[in-house]
């Protein structure tokens, strides 16, 4: 077996060979899924800009005309919608991640968890392209809060929570979809419910203040606290409400534990079922 001389790669020797090997497998899987997603398309990666742009525009137009929304409504929607879209895209990609790589799963032994994780990482590339879109909307429709303020420091923590949520749920969805291919279709319905059950087109926190019971149920949906926190930081220029954020963290942790457990149990049978 060959290995590169340690002196040539000072950083790499800090990692164990297993991690180093798997990080490269992971990078290769990400490259693969990224290439196969956008190959044979005229617009390619630009599609990840077109769809959210159209969605923000249509929702804003309807709300401005028919619901007398404020001038800042596009910014209000975009700061929650773009993160929500990222979740949806991650979960859709995760659902297909194991099933779509059947030929690899059947022939090569590698940690299967890498497949949904690679799906999340591929979606990250799309999100990266959408960030300028959010910034542009924030500039054109300036929100009421001071956005470039100290609360922005919360953003990395909120995003880390977001990744925990999509990776954990992604494992669950990826494993379940091998067992029952209907999961992919069920997911679409779940995403519709989550879209309306999360504060994307409306503001929930203040209206739920008088009804603690309903608030508790509402924030059991981790998307609710998560998207609200994005909006607090990016739109209102204020730190996130602590209880919804904490509840989103708790439910995300539970979902991640469930995802890891379920995926680990199902993984042994993947090659049989594909």
């Amino acid at each position: 077996m060959l290995s590169s001389p340690p002196s040539a790669r000072p950083l790499a020797v800090l990692l164990s060979p297993a991690i180093r090997r798997h990080s490269f497998v992971f990078a290769s899987l990400v490259a693969k899924s990224y290439k196969t997603t956008y190959r044979n398309m005229a617009l390619g990666v630009l599609w990840s800009l077109v769809n959210p742009l159209v969605l923000v525009a249509v929702l804003s137009a309807v709300w401005l005309v028919f619901f007398a929304a404020s001038r800042q409504f596009p910014a209000f929607v975009a700061v929650a919608l773009i993160p929500f879209n990222f979740s949806g895209q991650c979960l859709r990609a995760c659902a297909q991640s194991v099933v779509g790589n059947a030929s690899l799963v059947k022939k090569v032994a590698f940690p299967r968890q890498l497949l949904p994780f690679a799906a999340v990482a591929t979606s990250l590339a799309d999100l990266a392209l959408q960030i300028p879109l959010v910034v542009a909307v924030l500039l054109v429709f300036p929100p009421p809060g001071r956005v470039l303020a100290a609360p922005l420091l919360w953003l990395p923590a909120i995003f880390a929570l977001h990744l925990l949520l999509v990776a954990g749920t992604g494992l669950l969805v990826a494993g379940a979809n091998v067992l029952y291919r209907d999961v992919r279709y069920l997911l679409e319905s779940v995403l519709v419910v989550l879209f309306w059950a999360s504060p994307i087109l409306y503001d929930a926190h203040d209206r739920l203040a008088a009804r603690p019971g309903l608030a508790l149920a509402y924030y059991l949906n981790p998307c609710a606290g998560l998207l609200e926190s994005y909006r607090r930081v990016l739109y209102e220029g204020a730190p996130p409400h602590p209880v919804p954020l904490a509840m989103a963290f708790g439910t995300s942790l539970l979902l991640a534990a469930l995802g890891l457990g379920v995926f680990g149990r199902l993984e042994r049978d993947f090659a049989d079922l594909l």
């Binding site: 590169s4 290769s28 899987l29 044979n40 049978d269």
Partner: protein, 261 residues
């Protein structure tokens, strides 16, 4: 010699997809007729097998006798239903035709991905890629999508990666049947080289003379059990005899369709 592969009382029963407890079927139980053929088939039954490091073992058997299942268990892509599988050393992939190639990726991209999955590091791939490409003989097609490749080209590309990943245990599932005679000879030389270097090999093939040349031991699988295990000449002679007998009893000239006018 230390053991490279050790299977103890291994039984593999497939979880057959159509036998999964479908929710729709569960809800409609009693309404729909019961599906026929309830018993799940065991692909392998109580297999005990020990392969020493550096051994080259040929596996023969009729279709459906459990050859590929056995390789999948050793490759670690499948897990036994009962019994234990112990493998010591870096296992190559279960090499089959077009192993894990994605049709939309180019040959180059597929070679890179496969080499990564088989455990090469980025630096190793960079150092060996030219040699892999050279071995595969797909020069002008290297940057074309694999879906445009011929069967022989895909097989060559698959074998080329394998020849460069330094596995300690090599699993080959009937891959030497494709490719032209010249490439087959090249593959054979490579495998002889592996054997000379003390790499453990499990070779599934219907090409019996090839197994006789490349293997020091042959296993005959029949209905998920080991029917015979020993030197290739002896095992293959018995296997040929039975195959011949079975073939002759099945082919009845009087039952053949008449020649077209």
């Amino acid at each position: 010699m230390p053991l490279a592969i050790h299977l103890a009382a291994v039984t593999k029963v497939y979880r057959v997809p159509h036998r999964r407890p479908f929710l729709a079927r569960a809800l409609l139980r009693g309404v729909l007729p019961r599906p026929a053929g309830e018993a799940p088939a065991a692909a392998l039954r109580e297999i005990d097998l020990a392969v020493e490091r550096g051994e080259s073992v040929g596996i023969v058997g009729a279709n459906g006798s459990g050859k590929t299942t056995l390789l999948s268990l050793v490759a670690g892509t499948m897990h036994p239903t009962r019994g234990t599988v112990r493998v010591e050393g870096r296992v190559g992939p279960l090499l089959e035709l077009g192993a894990g190639f994605h049709p939309d990726l180019t040959g180059y991209e597929n070679l890179q991905l496969n080499a990564a999955l088989l455990g090469l590091t980025r630096a190793e791939i960079r150092a060996r890629l030219a040699s892999i490409v050279d071995f595969a003989e797909i020069d002008e097609h290297l940057h074309a999508p694999v879906r445009t490749y011929s069967t022989g080209m895909i097989a060559r590309a698959g074998f080329a990666v394998l020849a460069h990943v330094d596995p300690e245990i090599l699993l080959v599932d009937e891959v030497l049947a494709v490719g032209d005679a010249r490439f087959r000879a090249k593959c054979e030389r490579t495998m002889e080289g592996f054997r000379a270097r003390g790499i453990t090999q499990l070779l599934v093939s219907h090409n019996l003379p090839l197994l006789e040349r490349l293997c020091g031991r042959t296993i005959w699988l029949d209905g998920g059990r080991i029917r015979a295990d020993g030197p290739p000449a002896a095992v293959l002679a018995r296997y040929r005899e039975e195959q011949g007998a079975a073939g002759e009893s099945r082919i009845r000239p009087d039952r053949c369709p008449p020649p077209l006018a």
